[in-house]
Amino acid sequence: MNPLKRTRPSSAPASCVLVAALLASPVLPAAPFDSMRGQVPVDSEPQAPRMANVENRDLRRERNYPMQPPTIPHKIDQYQVDLNTNKCLSCHSRRRVEESQAPMVSVTHYMDRDGNFLAEVSPRRYFCGQCHVPQTDARPLVDNTFEDVDSVLRRVRSQRGE
């Protein structure tokens, strides 16, 4: 006998209970669960948070670890990055930095995956927004306990009494 068939509710009272449960309004658990959409029932629309403003101060930010892609310190509204053109590279490419005085994209962007240097930015590094993002003044939704490697090392050393 098919094991699935045994578990299917086949009796009349069981299907009545099922229908009643579907018709009843959703019941919230007594202890409120933590949800990023807030304490709003699923069948109603929560108030959307205000749109955050993009930081546009043009000041480089600290990186949390050496390999971190730098965050963008300016607005990139409507920057076109597609098959036709790349607005970011119109300032940050090797040929353009003299005029724009923007930092040149790092040399790794001109390397293919085998480490060969190319004349142009490598296609796998073409879509800037995959790694680099602007920052907004939004309040973080969850707490973050990230510690960078220097402070971890300092803590470990002080625990050892070095």
């Binding site: 101060r57 043009d58 509204d77 409507q78 053109t85 119109s90």
Partner: protein, 195 residues
């Protein structure tokens, strides 16, 4: 044909037989007012966004692309319409542009860009024409609103301030040199100066 022209010339040179001088002067003046008023009204009517996007080529391509940009939607609600940037405001320049635009009527009649694909294929050519026009008149249509004399550089972001101070202030650059593609999408820019 020559005989007809000679007859016409003789008629025009001959003094009026039936109409008084007053009728001719006043009638000519009134007719002139109506003619000039009508011409100007037609000119202004063709200089509105509603006229531009009356054709689907313009409504489906440049107009749609412009909608998310700062020149269409922004904090203060001041916006640019098609003729603000694409038609000169001074009268003689405007008439010159309108005469060039007769070629656009030709293009519309024969469906030169009547599909998205045709438009995209032709976009570089069309864009280059506008860039050349704005370069030649020192970005006049930009400067109709964005006057450098009244630009408060201290209220710009540092990189904008720097670029405007180095490029724009001493006049070796004009708006369109850097601000290409701010209101419409860009074509393949390989080979275009500054990209």
């Amino acid at each position: 044909m020559t005989a007809f022209l000679c007859r016409l010339w003789r008629t025009l040179r001959a003094p009026s037989v039936y109409f008084s001088l007053g009728t001719l002067v006043v009638g000519g003046f009134v007719a002139g007012v109506f003619f000039w008023g009508g011409f100007n009204t037609a000119l202004e009517a063709s200089n509105t966004e509603a006229f531009c996007i009356g054709c689907h080529e313009m409504r489906a391509n440049p107009y749609r692309e412009m909608q998310p940009t700062i020149h269409f939607t922004n904090a203060s609600g001041v916006r640019a319409t098609c003729p603000d940037c694409h038609v000169p405001h001074a009268w003689t320049d405007k008439i010159a542009r309108k005469m060039q635009a007769s070629k656009e009527v030709w293009g519309w009649l024969f469906g030169t860009i009547d599909t998205r694909e045709k438009f995209l294929d032709k976009r570089l050519e069309l864009a280059k024409r506008e860039w050349a026009r704005l370069k030649a008149n020192d970005s006049l249509e930009c400067r109709n609103c964005h006057d450098f004399a009244y630009m408060d550089l201290t209220r710009q972001s540092p990189r904008a301030e720097d670029a405007h101070r180095r490029g724009l202030a001493d006049g070796d650059k004009t708006c369109i040199d850097c601000h290409k593609g701010i209101a419409h999408e860009l074509p393949d820019m390989s080979g275009v100066e500054g990209w």
